[in-house]
């Protein structure tokens, strides 16, 4: 054992102790995945097929892999939205509502306001984003002014926003197409939607907007004084206050930006993936955003990676449930186990301590 330690672990161990979050994250993912594998073996007669579908189903065809990228786009927007809001130590989970509202407003602009190509989708997306921003700003304003719990208000507001915009789109406005055969609005003009990027898939130009959003949020968080104020406020509000930071201002701004990203995400999803507005229930991306944000440790650069990982598993599980008896809801079990272990502060702590001790011993030898 000493032979091994003296050779390779010598260089690896200090790096691992310094980046222990990576060890913990990997362990959490492994536990989640292993748990799923065990469950599949317990309940399925064709466990081998199910497991291979789950982990490689996303690679089976160009179309399937395209699905992963398509799904990664809204998950990234949602993850960015949640990250910015959680970074201020605010448990605002209004992203779910902002996605629905953003998508609805974008569809409304696409349907009702005639504009030249290029400007049309851009206006629709910005309008969707603005409404999303207002929703989360309302939550933040109640928190800052009177201390109303942002967690509870945002949860309740998700339902209010959903029912309100569902009413507007399908009942109150005459935008509903009675002849479409399912609940949806009329077809949006082609100029207003985002075109396809790759043939044979449904990947649209929202992918470029996604990359842009990741870059902008990274700059905001890591390269500006506002990002620094945000970090400080989130980590220690009292300290931030005494350093002369306007904590209320930081909270209001960050929640507006978070909501804006969510609204843009919803708008991009509607204009990129559909011909008509057809969300007759909450799309769920907002809650997925929490998973993505926690996996990426609220770091915008890692958000697309986490979103890809989640999208890959989701599409794999769809492939699994369409060809075996295991249903794709197993994903929700994997997800929550991973989040529980990732957020567990002392998970593997004794292991880390042992590593630190060994490292010190190594150095002194």
């Amino acid at each position: 054992m000493n032979k091994v330690r003296g050779f390779s672990m010598h260089n690896v161990r200090p790096w691992l102790t310094r980046n222990f979050t990576i060890v913990r994250l990997t362990a959490a993912i492994l536990i989640g995945v292993l748990f799923a594998v065990v469950i599949i073996f317990l309940i399925s007669d064709d466990a081998g097929a199910a497991i291979s579908k789950l982990f490689t189903g996303a690679l089976q065809s160009k179309r399937r892999f395209g699905n992963v990228i398509e799904l990664m786009i809204p998950l990234t927007f949602a993850g960015l939205s949640v990250s910015v809001m959680f970074k201020a130590n605010q448990f605002n989970i209004g992203t779910e509502g902002t996605f629905y509202a953003g998508g609805a407003v974008a569809a409304m602009i696409a349907l009702c306001v005639p504009l030249p190509p290029f400007i049309h989708p851009l206006t629709a997306i910005l309008a969707g984003g603005f409404v999303g921003g207002l929703i989360c700003l309302l939550v933040a304003a109640l928190k800052v002014k009177w201390g109303t719990s942002e967690l509870v208000t945002s949860l309740m507001l998700n339902y209010v926003v959903y029912y309100l915009f569902k009413y507007i789109m399908f009942t109150g406005s005459g935008l509903k197409d009675p002849n479409s055969g399912y609940i949806s609005t009329y077809k949006m003009p082609e100029d207003a939607t985002l075109g396809l990027m790759f043939t044979g898939t449904r990947i649209h130009y929202g992918l470029i907007l996604m990359v842009l959003a990741v870059v902008l949020v990274s700059i905001y968080m890591h390269r500006t004084k506002w990002g620094y104020a945000l970090k400080l406020t989130g980590e220690n509000m009292t300290f931030a206050k005494y350093s002369g930071i306007s904590v209320s201002g930081v909270i209001l701004a960050s929640q507006f930006i978070g909501g804006l990203i969510g609204g843009v995400g919803g708008a991009v999803q509607v204009l990129g993936m559909y011909e008509r507005f057809q969300w007759s229930s909450l799309p769920g991306y907002g809650f997925d955003g929490i998973i993505v944000a926690i996996l990426a440790r609220k770091n915008p650069i890692f958000i697309p990676v986490a979103a890809f990982f989640l999208a890959y598993l989701r599409i794999g599980s769809d492939a699994m449930s369409s060809s075996t008896s295991v249903t794709n809801e197993i994903i929700s079990i994997i997800q929550s186990i991973i989040i529980l272990f990732v957020s567990a502060q002392v998970f593997l702590d004794s292991y880390r301590q042992r590593m630190v001790v060994r490292e010190v011993v190594d150095r002194n030898e």
Partner: protein
Amino acid sequence: MNEALGYIFSLGFVYSILRVTTPILFATLGSVVAERAGTPNIALEAIMLFSALGGALGSGLTGSLWLGFLIAIASGLLITVMLAFFSLRLKADIILAGIALNLLGVGGTVFIMYTIIHDKGNTSSIATKTFPNLVIPGLNNVPVVGEILSGHNVLTYVAFLMVIVVWMLLFKTRLGLRIRSVGENSKAAESVGIHVERTQWIALLISGFITSLGGAFMSMGYMNGFGQNMVSGRGFIALAAAAMGQLHPVGAMFSALLFGTADAVSNVLAAARIPDELVKMIPYIVTIVGLVIYSVSMDRRKKKRVVRETRELS
């Protein structure tokens, strides 16, 4: 519309308020106990979903109401144990752990339901046992009061009795004193020899137990069987109700009744050709408005206290 208004002022409507308040009241009391110990239980929604599914499947497959009830409680407690283990033992942020478990709620219950009875929508293929309605002899003959208070599901009576039980627990027992002192200042509690982690475990388990009663009511009383996402935000409404009731069992009961009333009104209006979406918004809007009013009054009281204290100092 007039018919709907007429119904709102009828006795049947008041009866229905008590019925729809029942699950919210259980979860609200569950939230009160947990928050008093300084460990907010955000996972109420998931606990209710799992206990509702446990009750439906348990009673349907065993054919026994009591076995179903036990399985319901056990399922709810399982989620509670996960919450307590990850937040207290592994030191995960209890809010994040709660959110993670809620994410498990909808998907996890559908996964289990599909695995066992191969249906993703509901458990109508098996015959769930339900708790009986209780006609209170004597009371049922009293006009007005009898019509409102008699003939409810057994668990509805349990819910309102639970208000007294939780009040006794929190304010009249040693355990309650410990729970409250741990929640108010865990360092001070520890310094007088109270085992903080153990007390919080107990508080969370009690919270999970009471909330599971609400879940059991959902599938074995309110409805006859489990349906996908059947709790539909009641766990979250309960969080708001507990905060508005100032974490006092009696206050919690009144705010739960308020949300129950909003829920009952929306049920009535839904039958009166008012657009479905607008009606369904009502309980959530009431919750937000109620919560804002509550926080404004708390904020004022706090400011007044600060003013008074500074005056006393000078």
